[in-house]
Amino acid sequence: MSPTTQMESALAGQDAAITVENVSHSFVSRDGAIVQTLDNVSLDIRRGELLCLIGPSGCGKSTLLNIIGGLLQAGSGQVKVNGRPITGPSPRELSFVFQDNTLFPWSTILDNVKVALEFQGVPESERQGRAEEALEAVGLTEFRNHYPHQLSGGMKQRASLARALSLKTDIVLMDEPFAALDEQTRIYLGEELSILLAKSNKTIILVTHSLAEAVFLADRIVVMTARPASIKAVIDVKEDHPREPEFMASGRFADYRNDLYALLRAEIEKTIGGFVGSAAARDRTRRGICQPAGDAP
């Protein structure tokens, strides 16, 4: 091996926790038509960064996340995690937080975390301690013997987060973890997440449809096009973690969000069509009246 290639591979290994190479994906719909969801997506996710995937509803951002996590097979192209191609779930490297209701309703919160550790292959003697530690980190210690149905939506998502954190993977994939929550809870959990993750140095991919959530949490925001999704733009959010709630009220925050909305707008229009493309709407946009709709984390 020549010195150059050695250096190159060392750099690649250090920089990218996840490499997405020319990934495409399609599925056969109920009526037999082939629907393409991802079109030649390539992306490097740096170690320790929080990367947001944002795009119009149904564009394929969750599909991309599931391919990265090994839950779906890419039609073509490949995903490498820590330099190794992903062929299926790799629970020692990646953990997941899904949208909602993935806690087992037949188990207590503590048992939900413990069973995750069992699935991952953690020895039984360590499970109790690690589960309690993870619940402590999200402030759910006193609710550990409750069943999921006894908790609010926000607490359930905190429990899901604890379950993912207990697995101590370097990479956490989050698929719209706050989407089912009300706006106040979302803002609050977003702040908590920012504080929690600033300490942990984990690599995070967060799929969201919330502009403000993306700007508030992300180091980089990947804007995806309407289906079939490809990468439209990548925005760097140059702001230190943990981010204060004041950031949300700042001009910088508004600028980032407006830039993001400007990029997304054409894609949303492609997805939903309708009156957004009407003459009146175009006129309003031209005169600069059209403000992005209220959308907080």
Partner: protein
């Protein structure tokens, strides 16, 4: 529903209705409004019942029926649970076999009783086979339903966290499907009991059902009613036990 008070109220109405029925029966019996050979008075039935409880005949027949029920149920449960699991695990299997089994269950299987008698004779074996056949259907159908309808989200999240096949079964499929499966076992047990008593009544020489028919034919209605009461008590105990079992395996927060 508002908690305890309405629960007690419902229970009081249930007990009251049964008591009212007994009072009506007692009134009719004591006033001799209906011939005692057709409808004996409850007090006469009660004393027959007490006398019967002191003889060995009752226990001999009870033992036969009970043994038939236990064996029939165990066969039905073993076949229904295992077959239901393997069918329910495959989407294609469910699509093919679920409607087929549901269709056969809709046929009054009692029309095949003569075949059971030809194959297994008039003794307990034919009752066990017949009871097992009837009990098998609700058990297999509910097991298919329970396993095939486990929420995909739970399977996906378990797979993402690295669950192997055994863990998936023990920690996800089984607990998720258990409430539906236990309901199937409950229905199977009750239907098995019904079909065993019924087949004893149609063609049997031993067991509670055959006794009821024999005593009826001999116009010994007071003793017949004593047997009937006994079967009713047995059914109440069975049902209470089974619903406790069902409540134990319910998923917390379901059906609130």
């Amino acid at each position: 529903m508002n908690g305890m008070s309405s629960g007690w109220q419902a229970r009081a109405i249930q007990i009251g209705s049964v008591a009212a029925l007994f009072l009506l029966w007692d009134f009719v019996g004591e006033r001799k409004l209906i011939n005692a050979i057709l409808l004996p008075a409850p007090r006469a039935v009660f004393w027959k019942f007490v006398a019967l409880a002191q003889t060995s005949a009752l226990y001999t027949h009870l033992f036969v029926t009970l043994m038939e029920l236990v064996l029939g149920f165990l066969i039905a449960a073993a076949a229904g649970l295992s077959l239901g699991y393997f069918i329910g695990r495959s989407r294609y299997g469910t699509m093919v076999f679920e409607p087929l089994l549901a269709g056969v269950f809709a046929v009054p299987i009692v029309i095949f009783l003569p075949i059971f008698l030809l194959f297994f004779g008039i003794g307990p074996s034919s009752k066990i086979a017949f009871g097992a056949t009837y009990a098998f259907f609700p058990i297999v159908l509910n097991t298919i339903g329970g396993i095939s309808q486990v929420d995909d989200r739970y399977v996906r999240v378990a797979r993402a966290m690295g669950a192997d096949d055994m863990q998936m079964f023990r920690r996800v499929l089984l607990p998720a499907a258990l409430p539906v499966i236990v309901t199937g076992l409950r229905i199977g047990c009750i239907i098995g009991f019904l079909s065993i008593i019924g087949s004893e009544m149609i063609a049997g020489i031993e067991g509670l059902g055959s006794q009821i028919v024999r005593l009826g034919e001999a116009m010994n209605t007071a003793e017949m009613f004593a047997y009937i009461l006994f079967v009713i008590f047995f059914a109440i105990i069975l049902n209470t036990g089974l619903s406790h079992l069902q409540a134990r395996f319910a998923i917390p927060g379901d059906g609130r």
